[in-house]
């Protein structure tokens, strides 16, 4: 009763300490300290590899001056809208930031400055077809998230735009496929026919 209980309680308290060391930031704890806008109009369809997105961000002046003293770096990301997260658990939104999979594509990373920042980004060719919005996270000197800003509303319903991805297919690949397939079938048929003929003539 004595020693085992003590050991058990020690284990529990030590593990909860250990967990608190790893206590991670949540999205709901972040300040909405940035104002972010993106150039695509709501519902616009942009082709990956061809079209640009221009992102603008600045300090949200509704917050008192000095709130941004801890802001160090800004990372702007392309994030999935709820409709593109349906039936796709690998894009799920979670409050715990290091488990959150909403924003998987980095647009740009810049040091923080309170004035208006702009960046024009050509949509890369590995961006999948989906509906997106733009969000920027602000990090402090310890590389932890402290604030964010997004180009859509809190419910992620406005200002959403679509990206049309490249297919990844090429005519040269298609032709090579057909050639090798034909080769396989012809060599099989050829062998079969030749052996049948050899069998007949040797009998």
């Amino acid at each position: 009763m004595g020693l085992p209980t003590i050991l058990f309680l020690a284990f529990i308290s030590l593990s909860s300490l250990a967990f608190s060391c790893y206590a991670n930031g949540t999205f709901s704890a972040l300040q909405n300290g940035l104002l972010v806008t993106s150039s695509p109009k709501a519902g616009q369809v942009l082709k990956a590899g061809e079209k640009n997105i221009t992102v603008t961000w600045s300090f949200n002046k509704t917050f008192p001056a000095g709130t941004d003293s801890a802001y160090k770096t800004v990372k702007v990301k392309l994030c999935y809208a709820p409709i593109s997260q349906e039936n796709r658990p690998w894009r799920k939104t979670k409050d715990e930031l290091n488990k959150d999979r909403t924003c998987q594509h980095k647009i740009v990373s810049r040091p923080y400055s309170p004035s208006t920042n702009t960046f024009t980004w050509t949509i890369e060719r590995d961006i999948p077809s989906a509906t997106y919005f733009v969000r920027a996270y602000v990090f402090d000197t310890k590389d932890k998230e402290v604030a964010y800003g997004q180009a859509t509303d809190a419910a992620k319903k406005t200002n959403l735009f679509e990206v049309e991805a490249i297919t990844g297919r090429h005519a040269s690949l298609d032709i090579a496929s057909v050639c090798f397939s034909v080769f396989a079938i012809v060599s099989l048929a050829g062998f079969f026919y030749l052996e049948k003929r050899k069998g007949k003539t040797s009998k």
Binding site: W90, D126, P128, I166, D174, S177, F180, A184, F191
Partner: protein, 530 residues
């Protein structure tokens, strides 16, 4: 025929309590070596090899072994080639979780039918053409991946590539034309295990190829398509090697096979009847669905699971997933070996217990894998799960040869199909719906494994007993001869068609374990020793 006729008890010549069914060589004097044959290995009267020399490529026996298992390995590589690349493919084709799951089900469903058909094809055209036809005709389906543009195309192509797993049948059939029955268990177990390794190797190969192709400048959505050319080329290369270097029989090709009458003289309808009316067949169809079946399901989901749950790079997830499938190198033969060791002491009851223990252990560790929250623990649970499941596959085929002598081929085929069916069902139930996370899916799959392994307790052999019941004390009903000869009607016995079963019954007395020496002499006597 090779027996020493006349003296009483001579039918027991060479049969000892310690004679394993799986062995590396046939030492028994019952199987005489043909001294006139000029082969690299000692052969029996049918010129089937009596020795299994693993690192030789000598024509025809060992060369056939290597052509056969490598072809089967190649088909496993292409069938599961998409699995480690799913994180890229799902973005390129805009797949939902349901699409990914359905494609996994499709990849294992095609071969249910192709394996059943392949038995007949081997009989008609021989295993060499059976293998070459499947592997060459599925090569275009692998190349088709470069055309796929949406979910339905993806599912259709994976379904068609899955047909190539019929090479399991050609592999086992071809081995049985080349190797003597006494060592066929080990040979087939090794060939099947090494072929299954392809499911693991592909998890390593495909991400590496993808990475290499990207370094040459291809974008991700093109690079994965190019990567599929490599399994496609392997199909074509193996097809050509099988056609040029392979032969159906030790003595030559199919013409000889048909003249010799090696094609089964038994009626298909009879053989089929005795297979489906034996309740043990159905228990093993279910069981194999939860050893081989879960292995196939895991091959399809495990790389994506590690990628998503633990935030690994594609290559790292591939390496971990590969260790699952590659365990087959040793795990499956180990299962067969464990079954044999148990049989030496405890006979068939030992084999049944070994199977139950291995498969249930696999199920328990599958549950633990689903519940593991840290990477090192998850990998450990996965490895133990893989050894349990794959050893159970090996142990299953340590028992299957004893269910029926007459219908062994069909029972093996049905069991194999059951494996694929179990895989399709499990993927449909637990890995297709968005309501169930993959982690929960693995846990549920583990629970289902434990539940579906329970029926092995019901498998009872009157002559050897079952897990909980001893053998029948009745001298007639408790004999091996009674069990195996009951598959023949009186008419057929008049024609002497049951002789093979009688011989088999004598040899199977080793399944009594240590009790062989004290077994009462049954009243059956073969005409040779009347």
């Amino acid at each position: 025929m090779g027996d020493i006729e006349g003296s009483p008890g001579s039918s027991m010549h060479g049969v000892t309590g310690r004679e394993p069914v799986l062995a590396f060589s046939v030492a028994s004097p019952i199987v005489l070596t043909d001294p006139t044959a000029k082969f690299d290995l000692p052969v029996d009267s049918e010129h089937k090899a009596k020795v299994f020399k693993l690192f030789s490529f000598a024509n025809p026996h060992m060369r056939t072994f290597h052509l056969s298992w490598i072809s089967f390995f190649t088909c496993f590589v292409s069938t599961f080639a998409a699995a480690p690349l799913v994180p890229i493919i799902r973005d390129n084709l805009n797949l939902t979780k349901g699409d990914v799951g359905n494609a996994g089900v499709a990849s294992v469903s095609g071969s249910i039918f192709s394996r059943l058909v392949m038995g007949a094809v081997c009989d008609l055209l021989g295993p060499r053409y059976g293998c070459a036809f499947v592997i060459m005709l599925t090569a275009p389906t692998v190349f088709c991946m470069s055309f796929v543009a949406d979910a339905s195309g993806y599912i259709a192509v994976r379904f068609m590539i899955g047909f190539s797993l019929a090479t399991f049948v050609t592999c086992q059939y071809w081995m049985s034309t080349m190797f003597n029955g006494k060592i066929i268990g080990t040979v087939n177990g090794t060939a099947a295990g090494w072929g299954n390794m392809g499911g693991g190797a592909t998890q390593l190969i495909m991400p590496l190829l993808y990475d290499l192709i990207q370094r040459f400048g291809a974008t991700p959505f093109t690079a994965w398509r190019i990567a599929f050319f490599i399994p496609g080329w392997l199909h074509v290369i193996m097809g050509i090697l099988v056609l040029t270097l392979g032969q159906d029989l030790p003595d030559g090709n199919l013409g000889a096979l048909q003249k010799k009458g090696d094609v089964s003289k038994d009626k298909f309808s009879k053989v089929f009847w005795y297979a489906v009316t034996n309740y043990r067949t159905w228990i093993f169809v279910l069981l194999y669905g939860y050893s081989m079946g879960v292995e196939l399901s895991t091959d399809n989901v495990i790389a994506e699971y590690f990628f998503d749950r633990f935030d690994l790079k594609l290559q790292t997830a591939g390496i971990i997933a590969a260790t699952f499938g590659m365990a087959n190198l040793l795990a499956r033969p180990f299962g067969g070996y464990a079954s044999d060791v148990a049989a030496q002491r405890f006979g068939m009851r030992g084999r049944l217990w070994t199977l139950w223990i291995l498969q249930t252990l696999g199920g328990v560790f599958c549950i633990l894998l689903g519940r593991s929250n840290s990477l090192p623990i998850a990998v450990t649970m996965m490895i133990i799960f893989s050894v349990g499941a794959q050893a159970a596959c090996g142990a299953t085929f340590g028992i299957i040869p004893f269910i029926s002598r007459r219908s062994l081929g069909i029972i093996s085929g049905m069991t194999g199909a059951g494996g694929n069916f179990g895989s399709g069902l499990t993927q449909l139930l637990f890995f297709t719906s968005s309501q169930i996370s993959t982690a929960m899916g693995l846990t549920y799959m583990g629970i289902m494994i434990v539940a579906c392994t329970m029926p092995v307790t019901l498998v009872h052999f009157p002559q050897w007993g079952s897990m909980f019941l001893p053998p029948s004390r009745d001298v007639v009903k408790g004999s091996e001869e009674h069990y195996y000869v009951s598959e023949w009607t009186e008419d057929e016995k008049q024609q002497g068609m049951h002789q093979g079963s009688v011989k088999f019954a004598e040899n199977s007395r080793s399944e009594r374990g240590r009790r062989v020496a004290s077994a009462p002499t049954p009243p059956y006597a073969t005409p040779n020793h009347a």
